[in-house]
């Protein structure tokens, strides 16, 4: 391949429409005759629905229709919203898109109103009368898991949706004989994904064709089509799903939501285009949340810091219902808990518990940030207990580069890695020994510098179909058009990740066409062959690999076409620098465009070769990919105020081969910001009654520009052997790596105060309280 564009920081082709305000997000769609839906949501966390009276609503001027959950059931709605899993013993209660008998979280939809104007719909919403009979609530997952707790789903007889135990090696003997055992309870608080674009749906029914089109702010248009066809009871060919411009997803739009199903149903029922635009307050209530685990951790180590055993009890708060991947996410914590270290003896149990809260599901990292957080905290605790440097403990424990592919005690096979190299590079970049000396000196002045390390590995490029709850492959079509332009149809559904650019770079290099002549199409099930979508840092690793396969098929056919022209054997031809050439004779060459034209004309093709130059390929990944890296965070904590100032943030990441370094760095910047926001700022809070206390952007602390530091990034490149591009994934790595780096830094700063662990978010008040007993006049050193 020519490699003129691959690896270069090419400007994004997506941007002109975005920076000029000409892009079309769901809320920008306006169809003739379009009317507006608004959902009525439960103000209670748990209650029987006694009565829903929509009489006054229906009489309100401008209202076209109003339906309760009971109305939907009366209209024949039977299907539950989907959950994808392969767990034999999972308790999966029905999840109807509008609650009919009982509400189970604040924000659960109980009715929907359609009006000509969104303002009128809101007026009408004031006229809804719902009578509730309150029921006892289960909000705290630890209490919810106990016998006798109020039941979220009475029929199940328990709030425990599943328990998954796992053992490898001999953990009991290991812990009994260990030099040191460190125990820590670690809470991974609930987070709100907060894409700046909330959810939105525009659905249109074509009564003539009997076909519904749904525009949704989704990461998975094809999976959405499949699932909607099932819940709506339509043949799949009668559903078209379109993901227009999507304003951020972070996993929260990797789902099939009640509102998507109801709006599609309304379009059919009322035979009008229907729009629903979610408010931010609704989004906090009814978009999936992330994290929310309580992890009881124990680690066994030798005196030299070698970690030999890990015992975990993972309690995952699932929320009230299963959304698409709710039960699966916590199992990823189990799989990745050993992190970068070859811990042979593990004893892990994952327990998923229903509570009267919105469902948790995949949010940037999805189960892996929790794993990295707990193991990286535990390594620091081991270092502290043994009075060893945390970098040295990591150095002594890393999986050796020669050990790859490395199979973990939890059964994963890490593809490639060189953990020590990223760490040494990061330590050097941060001037680690200089920082330690400065820390020592500053402590004598009563100033508390903290240096935090996180050495992470994560599993992504989701994934081998056998290891996924549903299909893990993805697809690409490459079409050389008669005049030599190239159309790419990709099965992934980018929403900010920039594959319109990176995929065009790849095609331009490999097929020797100007990048301007490459069009990358995605996000419309009528245009693109089935694809699985964008999530789990899979876009380039899986979708890009499918594209690479399609390019190879095109090249092989183009060689046959050229060989026939030249009366040569195709084996004597090759692609060099994007052109077809005779091997060893650069004087004879043909472009892909020329071969494409011959393929179109059809009259000079070798016998038996079909006209046309296009190919559709699918890539089934033989394994996941495992990017890794080291993050170093330097903070100063003010003992008088508890304020954390991030002085420096250094990250050395390895995501394999890089197609566009500018885009890769952008992904890492954003990832780190989200991970550090968990460490310092963000937390979804429900009170004891299940009321959401963080229901707006004034209560939920998404960081502003001033609250995020400058990041210093470097890379190493360890290509994967899992796919033909050598790429790993980068969408989630920053988030996974950063949270423990920040928390470890703050805990390191607080070490003189005898503090070993505090739960996130590390807000000033919490830190000030932890430092107060000894900051009063006496300076610890």
């Amino acid at each position: 391949m020519a490699n003129a564009l691959v690896g270069a920081p090419i400007r994004r082709r997506e941007d002109p429409r975005l920076i000029t305000g000409r892009a079309t997000y769901v809320d920008d769609i306006k169809l003739v005759g379009m009317v507006h839906a608004i959902f009525i949501r439960s103000p209670y966390a748990h209650a029987k629905i006694v009565r829903v009276d929509l009489t006054k609503v229906k009489a309100h001027r401008g209202v076209i229709g109003a339906f309760s959950g009971a109305d939907l059931q009366a209209a024949g709605w039977k299907a539950s919203l989907p959950v994808a899993h392969k767990m034999p013993d999972l308790k999966a209660p029905p999840h109807y898109p509008l609650a009919a008998d009982e509400v189970r979280f604040v924000g659960e939809a109980v009715a929907v109103i359609v009006a000509f104007d969104p303002y009128v719909a809101r007026d009408a919403a004031e006229l809804v009368e719902v009578e509730y009979d309150e029921l006892p609530v289960a909000v705290d997952p630890e209490k919810a898991a106990l016998p006798g707790a109020p039941l979220v789903h009475a029929d199940l007889g328990t709030n425990v949706a599943y328990t998954m135990p796992f053992k490898a090696g001999d953990p009991d003997a290991t812990f009994a004989a260990a030099d040191v055992v460190v125990k820590q309870r670690i809470v991974n608080q609930r987070l709100a994904p907060v894409p700046i674009e909330t959810r939105g749906v525009v659905a249109q029914w074509d009564a003539g064709a009997g076909r519904v089109t749904i525009h949704s702010s989704t990461q998975i248009p094809h999976l959405l089509r499949t699932q909607l066809s099932l819940v709506l009871g339509l043949p799949e060919t009668k559903v078209r799903a379109i993901a227009p411009e999507v304003g951020g997803g972070f996993g929260a739009k990797l789902n099939v939501y009640a509102e998507e199903a109801v709006v599609a149903w309304l379009a059919m029922r009322l035979d009008r285009p229907i729009k629903w635009s979610e408010t931010r307050s609704e989004c906090f209530q009814a978009m999936i949340a992330g994290r929310d685990q309580i992890d009881e951790c124990e680690v066994a180590a030798k005196r030299d810091g070698t970690i030999v055993g890990l015992r975990l009890r993972i309690l995952a708060n699932l929320g009230a219902y299963h959304q698409l991947l709710t039960p699966v996410v916590p199992t990823l914590t189990m799989l990745m808990a050993p992190g970068c270290y070859p811990i042979p003896n593990v004893d892990i149990e994952v327990k998923g518990v229903f509570t009267n809260t919105m469902s948790t599901d995949a949010y940037r990292g999805a189960g892996r940030p929790e794993a990295t957080y707990l193991i990286e905290r535990l390594v620091d605790l081991v270092a502290q207990k043994l009075d060893l440097d945390p970098a040295e403990v990591r150095r002594r424990n890393f999986i050796e580069p020669s050990a790859f592919p490395f199979t973990t005690a939890t059964g994963l096979t890490y593809d490639t890695g060189d953990y020590a190299t990223t760490m040494e590079k990061a330590l050097q970049l941060a001037d680690y020994s200089g920082l330690r000396a400065r820390q020592e000196a500053l402590r004598k002045e009563g100033r508390y510098l903290g240096i935090g390390l996180s050495t992470y590995v994560e599993v992504c490029g989701m994934g081998p179909s056998a290891a996924m709850p549903a299909a893990g492959w993805d697809s690409a079509t490459v079409r050389v058009e008669p005049t030599g332009s190239v159309t790419v149809l990709t099965g992934i559904s980018p929403h900010g990740q920039g594959e319109e650019t990176t995929f065009a770079q790849l095609v331009a290099d490999e097929l020797g066409v100007p990048i301007e002549n490459v069009e990358v199409v995605h996000g419309d099930t009528d245009k693109v062959q089935y694809g699985v979508g964008t999530f789990g840092s899979r876009g380039t690793a899986v979708g890009g690999s499918a594209l690479k396969l399609a390019i190879e098929t095109i090249q092989a056919k183009a060689l046959k076409i050229a060989a026939h022209q030249w009366e040569a054997n195709p084996d004597d031809l090759e692609y060099r620098a994007g052109k077809i050439q005779m091997r060893g004779d650069p004087s004879r060459s043909m472009t892909t465009a020329e071969a494409g034209f011959l393929a179109f004309m059809g009259d000079k093709l070798p016998p038996g070769l079909e006209p046309g130059l296009d190919a559709t390929r699918r890539f089934e990944p033989p394994n996941f990919v495992y990017p890794f890296g080291t993050h170093v965070c330097v903070v100063e904590v003010d003992a008088e105020t508890g304020q954390v100032k991030i002085e420096r943030y250094v990250a050395v990441d390895d995501c394999g081969k890089v197609l566009n370094p500018m885009i890769v760095e952008g992904q890492i910047h954003g990832g780190i910001a989200q991970g550090m926001a968990q460490a310092l700022y963000e937390e979804v809070v429900y009170d004891e009654y299940g009321q959401l206390r963080t229901g707006t952007l004034m209560d939920y602390a998404v960081p502003h520009a001033e609250q995020v530091p400058h990041f210093e990034l470097e890379r190493t490149v360890t290509e994967t052997t899992v796919n033909p591009l050598g790429v790993k994934g980068v969408g989630e790595a920053g988030t996974i790596g950063s949270t423990p780096a920040v928390v470890n830094a703050v805990m390191d700063a607080l070490a003189p105060f005898g503090v070993t662990h505090l739960d996130m978010p590390l807000r000033p008040e919490k830190l000030w309280k932890a430092m107060a007993p000894r900051s009063n006049g006496k300076v610890p050193a």
């Binding site: 941007d15 920076i19 000029t20 305000g21 079309t24 997000y25 303002y119 931010r280 900010g496 952008g666």
Partner: protein, 177 residues
């Protein structure tokens, strides 16, 4: 129902039947079809809806359309087009200052206002100056870089072309009704 007169992106609009409670952002998006101004929250927190009112940034979700009566509004559509980008748009593109693009239009409008008040801001001043705008994708680093680049480009432009009149939104939009 009321009648308002506004100048939007250099085009004069007279509109009848404006509900007093209609928010400016809905007026721009629904009545004038200027959908580049986005809605990201309901508490004036995110800044996705930022436009310029008589040259100063405002959150259009926090104003009634009637409050804009007799005033001049500039939206993202009014500062440049893909064929003729505003220096701030160009800088966001060149610096990879956006990913999903949803906050971007409001961010660009705020950044233009920021440079209007402080033509040569430090990184810290840029971060502080954009406190009314949230971005969930970029971690802000490349946004800061973009604003710095736009400040430098604007300084060069004004040094070399100080005689030229200041750029204003001249894109003509069809008046809605």
């Amino acid at each position: 129902m009321a009648r308002i007169e506004v100048e939007v992106n250099g085009t004069h609009h007279e509109l009848e039947g404006v509900e007093p409670r209609l928010l400016l952002v809905h007026f721009l998006r629904e009545r004038l079809g200027l959908t580049g101004t986005h809605i990201g929250c309901d508490t004036s927190s995110c800044g996705a809806c930022t436009v310029l009112l008589d040259g100063k940034s405002v959150k259009s979700c926090t104003m009634f359309a009637l409050q804009a009566d007799g005033r001049a509004i500039t939206t993202i559509e009014g500062i440049g087009s893909s064929a003729d980008l505003h220096p701030m748009q160009e800088a966001f593109w060149a610096s990879h200052g956006l990913q999903c693009g949803y906050c971007t239009t409001g961010m660009i409008m705020s950044a233009i206002d920021l440079l209007g008040r402080n033509p040569n801001p430090s990184d810290g001043e840029i971060r502080a100056g954009l406190e009314g705008n949230l971005c969930r994708c970029t971690g802000y680093q490349n946004i800061v870089k973009a604003v710095r680049a736009a400040a430098a480009a604007t300084a060069v432009e004004s040094a070399t072309r100080s005689e030229e009149p200041k750029r204003s939104g001249e894109l003509v939009e069809v008046g809605g009704g």
